[in-house]
């Protein structure tokens, strides 16, 4: 089977593998959108740390309190972005994840509280919060499957399906629960599993990293991940080769719904209550994190590392602006600018490689 051509390729591959590690790293940075975002993340961190050292009183970036807060609050966005990102790679959007985040968290808390899962109960139940969580995750996953069904059955853009779904889940939350906040103070061991801390690292952060690892293996090493890229990259080619795009997209939508729910529950456990409007805007932030992390808006491209860096960068910016006591709209303006810059950069990287 082997031939001159194969030997030539083998030699070239071996040649490339022999490069020093530093060169490989530089090539990686140059060839991948994640490379650019990695540089930007490091630069942002370095700047924040330098200013934190120079002006420790005005800019409390390095204060233990700030570090603790960052490690506590980054996870919900990251967990949501993982689901949104996988769906984006498969070529679809979910704008409803923010609304779903609130709706399913309320489902979880309501079920748990009704089954005496609140720490304040006289005969508090230890399993109730887990039942609440299981029900909520079921609802969230089912919601994703419904989004997929409507999108694929009627062959309409998921942008529209989930824009509608966003309004429906938002209204559904108000209809089902009303606009008041809902208490969620679950019993042990749930409280520690999702709200505890290991040193300065909050449990939510650990869950985020666990899911990064799981999705890394799913996306980059499992054949299902390969199918996400294929279907998102060129649907017709995937069909021609025998991959079922509908099945693949159903799974991706379900993952987005599942992760939005998990994100809502993790956030609710940390805060101890749920604001029915709390998730609104997060759908755009998570899409922003993905795009900044190098995922292509039209599918087929991206990586878990990119989503991780993207989330971290969005979050660093939010944190810095909070520390500077900038009004909230600064953050939105900044994220808006970042999205555009990120897409310009990713496009440039691709063009330079061609």
């Amino acid at each position: 089977m082997s031939s001159g051509q194969s030997d030539h390729i083998r030699k070239a591959v071996a040649e490339r593998n022999k490069r020093p590690l530093a060169n490989k790293f530089m090539d990686w940075i140059r060839d991948n959108p994640e490379g650019g975002i990695f540089i930007m993340f490091i630069a942002a961190q370095a700047a924040a740390i330098i200013f934190g050292l120079l002006f420790p009183d005005q800019f409390r970036y390095l204060a233990p309190a700030n570090i603790t807060v960052v490690l506590k609050s980054i996870a919900p966005l990251g967990i949501m972005a993982l689901g949104v990102g996988i769906l984006m790679i498969a070529g679809e959007f979910d704008l409803s994840v923010g609304a779903l985040y609130s709706f399913t968290a309320i489902v979880c808390a309501t079920v748990s509280n009704n089954l005496l899962g609140d720490v304040g109960e006289a005969e508090a139940s230890a399993v109730a919060p887990f039942i609440g969580m299981a029900v909520a995750l079921g609802v969230g996953t089912l919601a994703g499957i419904v989004h997929a069904f409507v999108t694929l059955r009627f062959n309409i853009p998921s942008f529209i399906t989930t824009l509608g779904a966003m309004l429906i889940w938002k209204g559904g939350t108000l209809l089902y629960h009303g606009a008041r906040a809902l208490r969620f103070k679950p019993t042990e061991p749930f409280a520690t599993m999702f709200g505890g801390e290991v040193g300065v690292v909050h449990a939510s952060m650990i869950w985020f990293l666990i899911f990064c690892v799981i999705f890394y293996y799913l996306l980059h090493h499992h054949k299902l991940g390969n199918h996400f890229y294929a279907v998102g990259g060129n649907r017709n080619a995937a069909v021609a080769i025998g991959i079922d795009p509908a099945r693949t997209k159903y799974i991706a939508f379900a993952i987005a719904g599942f992760m939005a729910t998990l994100s809502g529950i993790v956030a609710a456990t940390r805060v101890g209550s749920i604001q029915p409007g709390g998730g609104l805007g997060m759908e755009l932030q998570s899409i922003a994190a993905c795009v900044i992390g190098g995922l292509a808006l039209n599918g087929g491209r991206g990586s878990i590392l990119g989503i991780l860096f993207g989330t971290a960068l969005v979050f660093t910016i939010q944190d810095v602006l909070l520390l500077l006591q900038a009004p909230a709209f600064y953050f939105e303006m900044f994220v808006g600018t970042m999205i555009v810059i990120a897409v310009i950069m990713n496009t440039a990287v691709r063009r330079a490689k061609a």
Partner: protein, 251 residues
């Protein structure tokens, strides 16, 4: 010929009385077509004659509106790509069917990844095989990295990847829809010779081309299509390039 429920057992594949409609437009009209063992069929015809439609019908991604399909003489439903894969049919599509954002290796194994029993991919093995097959059917120059994104390849290189993939997975029948449209003279010769070799190894082919000289070099039988039906059919010894040209132009 044989009855309604049985095809000839000498034929690997037979499509009988196939009609394919796109809405009100009839792309294939009561078409009969077969592929025998150990032969290369040349499928000819003007632009829009229905050649690609027939190829996609055989490969299952464009199932017929009506008509019967026989595989090895047995009536078979081929309505999806999985059905045709089960029948041992592999296709090089005219529009190439590669994913630009994925690497060469991943394109070759897309949908047929080499995995362990939990579905996790064996990247090393896939890359090794990819390198092997990139050197077999066409030896396109300039490909030296199986991890390169297909979107960055030239038109001919892309076509070479599509050919390598189909050739690697083929079993009984290989369908080639204008496979040489982007290849250099040298690569074209190489591929045509390869199609001849495959026949000796027991894989029949259907070659769609507008180049009658290429067709005449490797094909044993010719089918000329026009407006969705067969207008002429002859074995190589019963016809000439001139006659074929005449039929392609005239109809």
């Amino acid at each position: 010929m044989a009855s309604n429920t049985e095809g000839s057992s000498d034929w690997l594949y037979e499509a009988r009385n196939i009609t394919k409609k796109y809405g009100s437009f009839t792309a294939l009209d009561s078409m009969n077509f077969h592929i025998a063992k150990n032969e290369v069929v040349g499928l000819l015809g003007d632009n829009g004659a229905g050649k690609s439609t027939l190829v996609k019908m055989i490969s299952g991604i464009n199932p017929p509106t009506s008509g019967d399909i026989f595989v090895n003489g047995k009536k078979t439903e081929i309505r999806t790509r999985s059905d045709s894969e089960a029948a041992g049919i592999e296709t090089i599509y005219q529009d190439i069917a590669l994913v630009d954002s994925m690497s060469i290796t991943r394109n070759i194994f897309m949908g047929r990844e080499i995995t362990n029993r939990f579905g996790f991919m064996d990247h090393k093995k896939m890359e090794d095989v990819a390198i092997d097959i990139l050197g077999s059917a066409v030896q396109i120059s300039g490909i030296d990295d199986p991890r390169k994104e297909v979107g960055f390849l030239s038109g001919g290189q892309k076509q070479a990847v599509a050919i390598a993939r189909a050739v690697h997975f083929k079993r009984n029948i290989l369908l080639l829809d204008e496979p040489t449209s982007a290849l250099s003279v040298r690569e074209t010769e190489h591929l045509l010779k390869y199609v001849g070799d495959l026949k000796k190894q027991g894989t029949s082919s259907v070659l769609v081309t507008h180049n009658l000289y290429h067709a005449f070099m490797v094909c044993d039988r010719f089918v000329v299509m026009s407006h969705g039906t067969k207008v002429f059919e002859a074995t190589k010894k019963d016809t000439t390039i001139e006659e074929l040209t005449d039929h392609v132009i005239r109809t």
